[in-house]
């Protein structure tokens, strides 16, 4: 099979607009959580979220007008705007702007979302009830559909290769990158724009996820203490928002045009728990099997892994993932660093796996493991370095990124340093 490398990245996150600004702030231990003030939260059990810093575009703030005309923004839910922005950044970063028929047809898009345009659906529901069906906008459907990020990106950049999308809850971003890499490996495209986008922060999503007992509700007065993966006082995840997009490229294609290479996508594993709609099986078997499959595909052993970007949502499931990782790595546990960057940016749901894959690529590039914030009192003892509080400089040549979603859907990506 053909080899696939990452040649561009783009990101809109609760730490900022842009890959480098987010990474810099992540390594510095900054935290994107705050009280939600944009809508009523007093009657909600979870009143906090990790929000994108909005502004005029300076100092890492996100200005939607920089990425999509206001009249176009009005027609879509924010996840599409975030996805468009991150895709623009990734294509610019890769310096890939196909002009010829051949290049446009060789470039595809595979961007997913966990939930898509939830808020727009809620608003249209009110319109339908209060004003009737004649007031439902023709943009209601195309502004909410999950695959319309892929559609919009393809239209803007004239990318006429495979146009696809993924919906696997919190595994979406990882599945999108893994599947897109496979399309390149199999020869269906030479370049893929892949990742995830999500804009879930709304009354209905906070109410819904809280009803599932998934959200942190005990740290509303100290939002930046709420996301605390592996810590004994964790009580649920903190919702985030944003998008992560990579440009994936066939290795020889990238080399021929002298593209910058972040890392090689060497492994991808998928599994199903077949256990429960929201809870992972207690033995962590699904997680174990998808990590094992990803390493097998990479031709690597668990002892080769230097860094793991864990799913680590700050829920009870953290210890199940940790158990699965310990089973996987066995005696090499003490040489592995594993952190949850959700401690800083919250849980970006369908965008999480993509943003975290980018962090994993940057961990390889810079030989540094980003920190797990708020890990004051680890819930269980482990020989694995969970990178508490502060980033750790160390050699990282192989990184594994885990994503697990509702429905028992699991994905693992393995990235390796590319040496020319």
């Amino acid at each position: 099979m053909r080899r696939v490398v990452i040649t561009g990245t783009g990101m809109v996150s609760p730490l900022g607009c842009g890959t480098e600004v987010t990474w810099e702030r992540l390594l510095a231990g900054q935290n994107g959580a705050r009280k939600v003030t944009e809508f009523e939260v007093e009657d909600l059990p979870a009143k906090i979220a990790c929000r994108i810093p909005v502004g005029d575009g300076s100092n890492g703030t996100f200005n939607a007008d920089d990425w999509m005309e206001p009249k176009e923004q009005r027609k879509v839910d924010p996840f599409i705007v975030y996805g468009m922005a991150a895709a623009d950044m990734a294509l610019n970063d890769a310096d890939w702007h196909p002009q010829t028929d051949e290049d446009q047809i060789a470039t595809g898009v595979l961007i997913g979302s966990g939930i898509g345009g939830l808020e727009g659906i809620v608003e249209a529901g009110y319109t339908l009830k209060e004003k009737g069906p004649r007031r439902i906008s023709p943009f209601f459907i195309p502004g909410r559909l999950i695959n319309l990020v892929s559609g919009q990106v393809s239209i803007r950049h004239k990318l006429r290769g495979p146009n696809h999308s993924v919906v696997t809850a919190c595994s979406t971003g990882a599945h999108a990158i893994g599947d897109a890499a496979r399309l390149i490996a199999l020869g269906d495209a030479d370049v893929m724009v892949a990742g995830g986008a999500e804009s879930p922060i709304s009354r209905i999503a906070l109410a819904g996820f809280a009803a599932c007992k998934a959200l942190s509700t005990q740290h509303n007065e100290e939002p930046q203490k709420a996301s605390r993966p592996y810590d004994r006082d964790r009580d649920g995840f903190v919702m985030g928002e944003g998008a992560g997009i990579v440009v994936l490229e066939e290795l020889e294609h990238a080399k021929a045009r002298g593209a910058k290479i972040y890392a090689e996508v060497v492994g991808y594993g998928l599994s199903g728990d077949a256990f429960h709609i929201t809870a992972p099986s207690e033995d962590g078997d699904g997680a174990f099997r998808c990590m094992t499959m990803a390493l097998k595909r990479a031709g690597l052993s668990a002892a080769d892994v230097d860094y793991i970007n864990s799913h680590g949502t700050s829920t009870m499931a953290d210890t199940i993932e940790l158990g699965a990782v310990e089973r996987l790595v066995g005696n090499s546990a003490s040489k592995i660093s594993m952190s949850s960057t959700k401690s800083a940016i919250g849980h970006l749901l369908g965008a999480a796996g993509a943003v975290e894959a980018i962090f994993s690529a940057l961990a390889i590039r810079d030989n540094v493991a980003p920190p797990t914030l708020n890990l004051d009192n680890p819930d269980v003892e482990t020989a694995i370095d969970l990178v508490p509080h502060k980033a750790r400089s160390r050699e990282i040549n192989v990184a594994l990124s885990n994503s697990f979603g509702f429905g028992g859907t699991n994905a693992s990506l393995v990235l390796r340093r590319y040496d020319a």
Partner: protein, 78 residues
Amino acid sequence: MSDIAERVKKIVIDHLGVDADKVVEGASFIDDLGADSLDTVELVMAFEEEFGVEIPDDAADSILTVGDAIKFIEKAQA
């Protein structure tokens, strides 16, 4: 200019994001103002909402310019 014409033009400017000086009575939504077929559906809905009139689909199909819209609404409200 009538009050109706002013209000129609404001809706067109807001929805299509075009400069006010381009929104003249002879301007075609699709050919001159960059609208697509979905934009025109939404414009008609906005006119209905603003003026409290009902514009049936066959009538909507004949509203192609800013002037067509103004005339239709003036007639409907007369």
